[in-house]
């Protein structure tokens, strides 16, 4: 256990330094949600999204989940490249705990996402978002869990596909319908019955609804608890699935 924690720390540090070195990746990762916030947010600001608060209180949580989703799904590209240049093999020939390479990277992703989310919320405040601090902070816990789940699955997938284009194709085709169906940009409260029903099979739907409620200052209602249950289950699934896929990749050439 100590070994796992220490080794995860080593990989976390290494990954964090990698991230800090690539300033362009950092900026561009942030750019997209910021553009949505600045260029789409104002369009919605005077609409009633029927979520029981201001449009910003519905829109910013959606952007946070979108950031987690888009960022999380594609982190695998990094490990795919490292695998192809032999870095993963080099790690595997050290006594490093076998789960550490994924857990360390995943923690880096979570930290990066929470920092980006905080920036996004601050900018949202500048545009007119008003939400309780407690709700905002709890919201970060939800997106952190979501990001952990997606990172692990993304790494697991990347370790088991042959090429980067193959990975990108799978990630792209998965992420788009999930994003649309979850009601991230516009809430499903606006949807016709069939679409609302369909969106209930997408787990992120529950996360985003819960964060929206948190932003309204409702901390323990059914929506928040359902969101917590689904998001935590997804994190557990991502953890187990990602590690299993990583182990599997070590047994195949």
């Amino acid at each position: 256990m100590n070994r796992l924690i220490a080794d995860t720390g080593v990989i976390f540090g290494r990954s964090l330094r990698q991230t800090l070195r690539s300033k362009t990746a950092l900026t561009f990762g942030m750019l997209q949600p910021l553009l949505f916030l600045a260029l789409m947010g104002p369009l919605l600001s005077r609409l009633d999204l029927r979520t029981g608060g201001t449009a910003w209180q519905a829109f910013v949580p959606g952007l946070l989940v979108q950031l987690a989703l888009l960022g999380g799904m594609f982190v695998g590209l990094g490990i795919l490249i490292e695998r192809q240049v032999g870095v993963i093999d080099r790690m595997r020939v050290t006594p490093l705990h076998p789960a550490a390479p994924l857990l360390g990277r995943m923690l880096r992703d979570v930290v990066q996402l929470v920092v980006q989310s905080a920036l996004l919320v601050l900018l949202g405040v500048a545009f007119g978002l008003r939400a309780p601090v407690g709700g905002v902070l709890l919201g970060f816990v939800f997106v952190a869990l979501l990001s952990a789940a997606l990172s692990m699955l993304s790494y697991g997938l990347a370790m088991n596909v042959r090429t980067a284009p193959e990975f990108a194709a799978i990630a792209n085709t998965t992420v788009l319908p999930l994003m649309l169906l979850a009601g991230l940009l516009l809430p499903m409260t606006l949807a016709p019955g069939w679409l609302d029903a369909a969106s209930r099979i997408v787990p992120f739907r529950y996360t985003v609804d819960a964060v929206r409620h948190l932003y309204l200052g409702e901390y323990a209602d059914g929506t928040v608890l359902a969101g917590l249950a689904v998001t935590a289950a997804l994190a557990a699934l991502g953890l187990a699935g990602g590690l299993a896929l990583f182990r599997r990749s070590g047994r195949t050439p």
Binding site: Q18, R21, V85
Partner: protein, 255 residues
């Protein structure tokens, strides 16, 4: 005779492809003692890299057993990893990472504390002539410098067994001579057993105590360079090699 540090019996690896099975390694036997430099020769596709990857715990064998650095490969792969160094045929560096950081992180991955890892990195940098390059990203290194760094990474944990897969391919004669010196020094100072694969017969002749010639996934000849030459009445190792393998092909061994 002391017990061998490296003891391999019937090691096999079959890759199952859609086009059919590829028997890359079939029933390979090897052994090496402490401080021995074992040269593995063989034509392209003979199974050298596959063998080294199996012995370095990266690829599960489909048959056979092995003791590496005194540990059972199948029962205690973690024990093996702690005691070996592995320098792949190519790659293994993060292009944007500075040389010094790569060395320190490698020590940390081997469980060295932060200060110990820094000290070890400085020692290796001095030893391998990397001290002036510590702040450079690895992508900015020349081929020879990169090879020196890769080998330094493989030595971080003072391994009992060092696997070098074609360590001097692409190096200029000066860098090659430096690497030979290094291998001899590691062996002399730490009693490290070195298994190296190479296509350079002069290198095998100069460096290895004993040679193993592999063809189509199995050992076809074994002995000191002098033995092999004498056995085949050859003047040079090259002649002996050609007599033993009979050809220079890279056709995979299919059954």
């Amino acid at each position: 005779m002391t017990s061998p540090v490296l003891d391999v019996h019937g090691l096999s690896r079959t890759f199952r492809l859609r086009s059919g099975p590829v028997h890359a390694v079939r029933g390979l036997d090897l052994s090496a003692e402490r401080g021995e430099v074992l040269g593995v020769l063989g034509p392209n596709g003979a199974g050298k890299t596959t063998t080294v990857r199996m012995l370095a715990t990266l690829l599960p064998p489909t048959g056979g057993r092995a003791v590496v650095a005194g540990r059972d490969l199948l029962a205690d792969p973690a024990g093996v990893r702690a005691r070996i160094g592995y320098v792949a045929q190519s790659g293994g560096l993060d292009p944007n990472c500075p040389v010094g950081e790569e060395l320190v992180t490698q020590g940390r991955m081997h469980g060295l504390p932060r200060a110990g890892s820094r000290a070890r990195a400085a020692e290796l940098a001095a030893d391998l002539n990397l001290a002036d390059l510590l702040d450079r990203p690895t992508a900015a290194l020349s081929g020879g410098q990169r090879r020196r760094l890769e080998i330094a990474l493989g030595l971080v944990n003072r391994p009992e067994v060092l696997f070098l897969d074609e360590p001097t391919t692409g190096l200029d004669p000066g860098s090659r001579a430096d690497l030979w010196d290094l291998v001899r020094r590691v062996r002399r100072e730490h009693g490290t057993t070195v298994l190296l694969t190479t296509h350079y017969l002069d290198e095998a002749d100069a460096l290895a105590d004993r040679l193993v010639i592999v063809d189509a996934g199995a050992v076809v000849a074994e002995g000191t360079p002098a033995d092999l030459k004498a056995r085949h009445g050859a003047a040079t190792l090259q002649d002996a090699f050609l007599a033993i393998t009979g050809r220079a092909t890279d056709a995979p061994a299919a059954v």
